[in-house]
Structures are given as structure tokens and as C-alpha cells.
Symmetry: C2
Subunit: 216 residues, 2 copies
């Protein structure tokens, strides 16, 4: 076992009980965030396997070996993209629901969930979730399990809404199966939706609601 060296402690092995952040530590976490953003962008457009750590380094303005100062491995980078992405959108989803005010209808809640999900998938500044959706395979089984738990939490918020809509008759399929179909329909938009096309995210949301709900 090596004793920890005094200078250049690898930030991917952060120490516990964090003291106040020095200017250098703030710099480091910013560089780390830049790496994550560059990686997410490249993973989304080229795929994980087709993206080299050299590509990522170059996109973040570093030399080829430098990403490994911030991340243990290429796989750890992928995991971090997915993990940080999920943490972000799960919180944003809860806020989108709270913004509806008191006692929103089930339909209004579904609308908010769908609209927010579109934002996450095809809105500006969101390569993270598409990477999670389409690069699942590249994770190790342990990583998959952990990301899967975050994904379950995100999707769980939809179930009460779907159950309520099923009870009222608006939703005609079984809620569990409906949830899987609906996420499929939404997640697939990554493949075809053009943010610069004629359809706005609001219109897209409206069409989705009309497709899935039988009334109104």
C-alpha cells in the first residue's frame, strides 16, 4: 500500500469530512464539470465505444492522459455522466410538479411530467439523459444496478398519476404497461425530434396527451 502522496491527491478519491474548499479545489471541480459536459456531448453523438478518452480530453482542452487525473477510468466517466444527470433531472422533476400549486388534476400532473421529460431529452443543455438511455450496455453490472435505482425513483413519480388516470377512465391500458409504453414513446423522440423544426415542445406535449388519454 502506498501512503497518500502529499501533493496531487487524485480528486477521484475524495477525502471524507470535507474541509472548506480552497480556490484550487473549486478550480478542480470546475475542470471536472467541463470534462463531464464534453464527455456527455461526445457519448451522445458518437456513442461510448466510438469515443476515445483522447477525444474527450481534446474537447475539454486537455492532453490525452489528463482525464485520468479526474476519473479512475473511462467507465467511471460514463457512470458520472449518468449519475449526475439523473440527480439533476430527478430534482427538477419534483420542482416541476410542485410548481403546479395545490391539488392539480391528474391530467395536469401528467402534462407537467411529459413536458419536463421532453425538456430533459431534447431541450438545450441535456446530453446526460440520452446517454443514460442509450449507453446502458456499456456499464458494469454494479454501475447498472446503481443507475437503475435512480431511474426507478424518477419513473416512480409517474405511477400515482397513471393509476389515478386509469381509475377515472382517461387511461385505458394497465398503468404499469402504459408507463413502459409512454416512456418508450417519449424517449424515442431523441431519434427524430428537431428542436429547430416546426413542432414546439408544448405542441409535442399536447399531441402526446391526446394520444395517450381517451377523453377531453
Amino acid at each position: 500500500m502506498n501512503p497518500p502522496s502529499v501533493q496531487d491527491p487524485a480528486p477521484h478519491a475524495p477525502r471524507r469530512g470535507r474541509p472548506r474548499k480552497s480556490a484550487q479545489e473549486r478550480d478542480e471541480s470546475q475542470r471536472r464539470a467541463e470534462l463531464l459536459r464534453a464527455a456527455a456531448r461526445l457519448f451522445r453523438h458518437q456513442g461510448f465505444d466510438a469515443t476515445s478518452t483522447r477525444d474527450i480530453a481534446a474537447a475539454a482542452g486537455m492532453q490525452s492522459g489528463s482525464p485520468f487525473y479526474y476519473f479512475e477510468s473511462k467507465s467511471a466517466l460514463l457512470y458520472a455522466v449518468m449519475h449526475d444527470g439523473m440527480a439533476l433531472v430527478t430534482q427538477a422533476q419534483a420542482q416541476a410538479l410542485q410548481a403546479l400549486g395545490p391539488r392539480p388534476t391528474a391530467r395536469a400532473r401528467l402534462q407537467a411530467l411529459i413536458r419536463h421529460h421532453f425538456e430533459v431529452l431534447v431541450g438545450p443543455a441535456s446530453d446526460f439523459i440520452p446517454v443514460m438511455l442509450y449507453e446502458w450496455r456499456a456499464l458494469t453490472p454494479e454501475q447498472r444496478a446503481r443507475i437503475g435505482a435512480l431511474k426507478d425513483r424518477y419513473e416512480a413519480a409517474w405511477m400515482p398519476v397513471l393509476v389515478s388516470l386509469r381509475r377515472s377512465g382517461s387511461l385505458r391500458a394497465r398503468p404499469e404497461v402504459a408507463r413502459l409504453f409512454i416512456f418508450g414513446a417519449l424517449n424515442w423522440t431523441v431519434q427524430w425530434f428537431d428542436p429547430h423544426g416546426p413542432l414546439s415542445l408544448d405542441e409535442l406535449t399536447e399531441q402526446a396527451l391526446r394520444l395517450f388519454l381517451g377523453d377531453r
Copy 2:
């Protein structure tokens, strides 16, 4: 320019005006088909980039260089998987519609299309179409255009049905957008459906119809 050698003409440069097949040629086309099946299976489960031509050769019982006797490149193998897969399912789709007999309802036609599509996606012996759906990126632009044309033809068959259901009021979204959402919902089943699970393809089809159509 090399004159064509007398023995071992590369089968991936087939001559025109084909004469009757010799036994050797039949053998060759069978070996080619085995390669395609092995490639489709590996591409589906590991992804194109994560599958080496050596993996494919081994799965087909060959040595590492041998796939290049049958295919110009790894990319040509991917293209062939997608092309042959699309040709197969497009024909099968037409047959599924014809089997409905004269004057089927629009609902019956949609049911047949969905049911057939599930068969293509998650039924036995079908790695080809999932590869096409999820390895799109790995094609060259020219290959993408050609496969895209085949895909358009396959999907075009759905439009008259959706238009008809829109007119009758069963479908409440715009047919063009509905088609995209519906294919998303169906194509995504590749990610979660378990053929050995409790849900049959018939039940899955029924749930999909209930989700997308507002009446009955």
C-alpha cells in the same frame, strides 16, 4: 488494375447475369448467412463498436480473417444485417395485412401491424431489426440513406391506417406525430420486454391498442 483471379473470386463482388448455382456457391451463400446471423446476434447484444470481427468469425466457426472473404468490411456486414432484415420484415408485414382477408377494419389492421412489429422486435429469431434501430449511428451517410428508404417503406404502410383511425375519431393525435410516438413505444419494448415473462405478445398488443385508441 488486377485482372480477376481465376480461383477464389471474392463473393462480395458478385458477377452479374448469374448462372445456375454450383454446390460450392450454395455452400458459400450458406456460410454468408451464418456470418450474418452471428453478426446480428453480437451487434444486438454488445453493440457494433464493441463487437470485433474476430468475435463474429469465432461465432461462425471461422478464423479471424475469414469474414473478409465474404464481406468487404465490418461496415458492409452491418449494412447487410440491416438490409436483409428490412427486406424480410417488409415482406412479412405485407403478408400479415393480406392475411386479414377482404375489407378489414382500420382497428384490425392496426392490431395486425402492431402484433407483427412485436414479433419482429422481440420474437424468436430476430436480432436484425433491433440492430437496425439501435446501431443507426455506425452507418456511413450513404448506407444510412439507403436503409432509411427501406425503413420509410415499412412505416408508410401504417399511415393510411392511422389516417383512417383519426377520421373516425379513434385516434386523437395527428397521424404523423402519432406514428412517431407509436413506433417509439413499440421499439422501446426491446429494452424491457421479457419473452419469458408473464405478458404474452397478444396481451402486449391489446394493451398498446388500448393506450393509443380512445374508443371500444
